[in-house]
């Protein structure tokens, strides 16, 4: 894939402390493994790469890197231990590309600085892969991380 990176997204990469090669590698691995989320119209994908301290996401089309975001909170698993049916419409706008299943909006346990709490995730019920949307990572988790850094210091 030849992915174009605009100046705006390049700045986002810098803001998140992510190198171009790193994000392109995340996309490459997602494309080869199929482990990614795909929008329902098939035009946009989300790939993720997790290290010990940071989970980085690339939102991209066939030709362009559209967005980059990251969170420090480490996803541990489904809150409550297992995926059971819930009594509300939890279908997200994303599909697990590997399984073809609609990703579900579910609480996932996240850990940071020794604190484990739930957070809003996107989960494939079949393969169990877990993601966080851009909106949640950039707002809810960013604020949560800042509070934990201040209060756990």
């Amino acid at each position: 894939m030849d992915i174009k990176i605009t100046e705006q997204v390049d700045n986002l990469l810098k803001d998140n402390g992510v190198r171009k090669e790193e994000i392109l590698d995340i996309i490459k691995k997602a494309e080869s493994s199929g482990q990614k989320l795909k929008s329902k119209d098939g035009n946009t994908c989300i790939a993720k790469g997790a290290s010990e301290n940071l989970t980085i996401y690339a939102v991209y089309s066939a030709t362009e890197l559209l967005d980059v975001y990251a969170h420090k909170m480490n996803i541990l698993g489904i809150t409550g231990g297992e995926i059971k049916p819930v009594e509300y419409d939890d279908a997200s706008d994303w599909i697990c590309a590997k399984c073809g299943e609609v990703a579900l909006e579910r609480n996932v346990d996240m850990s940071y600085l020794g604190v484990t709490r739930p957070g809003p995730g996107l989960v494939c019920a079949k393969c169990g892969e877990m993601y966080v949307s851009a909106g949640m990572a950039k707002s809810t988790l960013k604020t949560a991380e800042a509070i934990l850094e201040e209060k756990r210091a």
């Binding site: 409550g80 609480n107 949640m136």
Partner: protein, 370 residues
């Protein structure tokens, strides 16, 4: 009283209370469980004022609340809110009452046609409206005069609470039977309103705790299926949207009233890292903290409760005994615990009963998990 008539908050107390309050959220060790009796207009009685005075003077109200927090040694946060928020922004009339929180007297939605025509106000419109103008006057006072006791909140209630602030409860309950789709529409609009309201607070202060849940939608008035359809599902959708819009991160599920038949639904409600669940009653009895922790303790922070009727009309010994039982059952809940009351501390509750609640936390709420 103006600000200069209050003595400054004792910084030693504030430092210690701040540590106690931090523990349930971030697991930072401290000595014991913190108590939050949800002090609002009760603070006014400590100053020989009434609820009407409290709600007519939001700046003074929060000064009284902050002073009461120190006096009782409870959660160091200056709150101001009442149940019937948001009606006035849409044309309802709010009546200030001498001995009770404000109430709505004339709701904007009167017919089924009104529901269809009803338009949710934007964030910008809500900021200019009477509810947030008053709410922000209170919050700004805390921020400026008691910055260490400032934690911005948005009082939402659940979708049924917002809906019944727009239309009369009799009409909404009748429509639930005759035209349930109409109540669906109303609850969707209530959910959209909740998102816009939270966004307003988050934009002003940089963060926000939404108070939501299910109060009218409890087992005394609705069955499980109705609660699921008109409260749990639209509230869950709204909370997701609020968090996604960056208008969190705090989520406080306040399940007031009897939730025997529906409490388990809320185990899967959308949660953020700063989520607390409080459930009032299990049938006619106080919701056992042991049951709360069993179902929510491995998910979020738990808020164990003492019966507000007991705090209002019981003896200190009765309050102390129930608080002891609840705090012993909850203090080492894995994701944090707060001891409080089932709902707002009654306006005219005897101060000695609030003291008894706090004494129980001091006597029996020492952490063993750290």
């Amino acid at each position: 009283m103006p600000a200069q008539d209050y003595i400054p908050i004792d910084q030693n107390w504030l430092g210690n209370a701040g540590k106690l309050w931090t523990t349930p959220w971030v697991d930072k060790p401290s000595d014991r469980v913190i108590v939050d009796p949800i002090i609002l207009s009760h603070a006014a009685t400590l100053f020989r004022k009434n609820a009407g005075y409290f709600y007519s003077n939001p700046d003074e109200a929060v000064r009284m609340v902050c002073a009461a927090c120190e006096l009782y040694d409870v959660t160091p946060v200056g709150h101001y809110l009442y149940a019937d928020y948001w009606g006035a922004d849409y044309g309802a009339e709010i009546k200030i009452q001498t001995n009770a929180p404000p109430g709505i007297t004339n709701r904007p939605i009167k017919t089924a046609e009104d529901v269809d025509k009803f338009e949710v106000l934007s964030t910008e419109e809500l900021v200019k409206g009477p509810t947030l103008a008053t709410h922000y006057k209170a919050l700004d006072t805390v921020k400026n005069e008691y910055p260490q006791m400032f934690a911005p909140i948005t009082q939402l209630g659940g979708t049924m609470e917002v809906a019944t602030n727009w239309a009369s409860i009799e009409d909404v309950f009748m429509w639930m039977i005759t035209e349930p789709e109409l109540v669906d529409k109303l609850c969707i609009k209530a959910g959209d309103h909740m998102v816009n309201a939270c966004r307003a607070t988050a934009e002003r202060y940089g963060a926000n705790v939404m108070i939501t849940g299910s109060v009218i939608a409890s087992g005394d008035l609705m069955d499980r299926e109705q609660i699921k359809r008109f409260s749990y599902q639209p509230v869950s959708r709204a909370v997701r949207k609020v968090l996604s819009a960056g208008a969190g991160p705090g989520v406080y599920y306040h399940l007031c009233g009897n939730h025997t038949d529906d409490f388990d639904l809320w185990k899967d409600a959308p949660m953020s890292p700063f989520t607390i669940v409080q459930i009032g009653y299990d049938g006619q009895k106080i919701f056992p903290t042991s049951k709360l922790v069993e179902n929510f303790g491995d998910r979020c922070t738990c808020f164990g409760t003492v019966d507000t009727k007991l705090v209002d009309r019981g003896t200190p010994a009765q309050v102390y005994a129930q608080a002891k039982e609840q705090v012993l059952a909850g203090k080492d809940s894995p994701r944090g615990f707060i001891l409080g009351t089932a709902c707002e501390c009654p306006t005219n509750a005897p101060p000695v009963n609030v003291h008894a609640l706090v004494r129980a936390a001091k006597d029996f709420g020492k952490y063993e998990k750290f």
